[in-house]
Amino acid sequence: MSNRTPLYESHLKAGAKVVDFHGWDMPVNYGSQIEEHHCVRKDAGVFDVSHMTIVEVEGKDARAFLHHLVPNNVDKLKNTGKALYTAMLSEDGGIIDDLIIYYLRDDFYRLVVNSATREKDLAWLQKQARSFHVTVTERLGFAMLAVQGPHAIEKVKQVVSPEKMAVIDQLKPFNGLPVDHWFIARTGYTGEDGLEITVPANQAPAFFEALLKVGVHPCGLGARDTLRLEAGMNLYGQDMDETVTPLESNIGWTIAWEPLDRQFIGRKISETQQTEGVKRILVGILLTERGIPRTHDKVMVNGQDVGEITSGTFSPTLEKGIAFARIQASVLGKHCVVESRGKLLQGEFVKLPFVRNGKPVFQPY
């Protein structure tokens, strides 16, 4: 039996095509995923992301626990509500998951981890928490809606209480705050401005339908994937997993090396890789001819196999095939060839992201 979010019936009412996504019945589109994509780039769209896992870390050792748990440093979080993107590593430096940590108090943090990795993440968190005075609690009974796009914030404000409007007005990018059993964060997975809003399950359908009434377009997992790819954001399980490290996954910037004596899990191997350099890296590829790179397609430079596509799609903004590929670091140059369904497609390596705030921003290597 599949899991269903509190918005399942609302999706059907809105004309969703529902598919199985790691055990969840989720909307893949409501008609055209390309149209949904453009709505988010130009106006406002809403995604149901209620399948995501919310975890609270509470106790006097909360900060020390997070110092140990993740390579990014929660000491960067000075103000209430400030968020931090980080990976969570195994002892050998592989990525267990990626997550966002919100700082609420010195003894209280909120974590949002992926849904497909929920069980292993919770087990890992509980295991690591044993040596600290903290409790790790999953929060159930909520729905999470991501409202994204240049007009997302103004449209959300049209349908919420004055108290919530006031909170939204004070939210800077990458901050989130609790208000009246909701948690409103200015974060997202699209490369656009917007909010990710957690609401009690029983309030979710009315909120979702109010958003649609003010012209927010419902968007499915299809558009979510093309938007995050254009935005240069990794998908856990596809672009990274336990067999690769942050430096091999284009998220080396999430490792806080200072202070040198902070012993986060996976530090040793991360440091070795930082000093010696990594053999493989994750880069962007833009096809210069018609075609769409697909996961596991071979990438070649000068006729040699140098790696493979981890995620590929058609970019609705650029109207070209785009991809992330994990390749040998030593071969990085301008040109590459992607072998897709027996055809050789010409491409270029580019620095991610491809698109930010509606505009192409990619740079050649």
Binding site: Q33, G222, F314
Partner: protein, 131 residues
């Protein structure tokens, strides 16, 4: 439930075929097929004059989600291709049985048309596919 016009013939691989007044045939993909593929972004249509045996790959349709081969429903020679879908491939999504046709062909044996599935038989194929 998807649209399955009764005046067309079908294949198990979700192509439809229409017999034209001039004796030629037109091929496209079914409403069910376009819905499964999602937004179509490229169509690699065959060249006019190409000969294909029945069941042969003759065309590739690529959606955001996946690339999909189109199989020749009956042996024949390509007579004309729909140029509109090269520039507006989403016509295949929007109007799979009319504006979104793929190409026309002359059949090696027009009688092969009678061997294709009728709407009732294709409805059964589609139901088996979705359940």
């Amino acid at each position: 439930m998807s649209n399955i016009p009764s005046n067309l013939r079908y294949t198990k691989t979700h192509e439809w075929v229409r017999k034209e007044n001039d004796g030629s045939f037109t091929i496209g993909i079914t409403d069910h097929a376009q819905s499964l593929l999602g937004d179509i972004v490229f169509v690699d249509a065959p060249k006019v004059g190409n000969d294909y045996a029945a069941g042969k790959e003759c065309c590739v349709i690529e959606s955001v989600k996946a690339a999909s081969d189109i199989y020749m429903p009956m042996a024949g020679k390509v007579k004309a291709v729909n140029d509109k879908i090269t520039t507006a491939p989403n016509l295949v999504n929007a109007d799979p049985y009319n504006e979104g046709w793929l190409f026309k062909f002359d059949a090696t044996s027009a009688a092969d048309f009678e061997q294709l599935l009728d709407a009732a038989a294709y409805t059964a194929v589609e139901q088996a596919d979705t359940h």
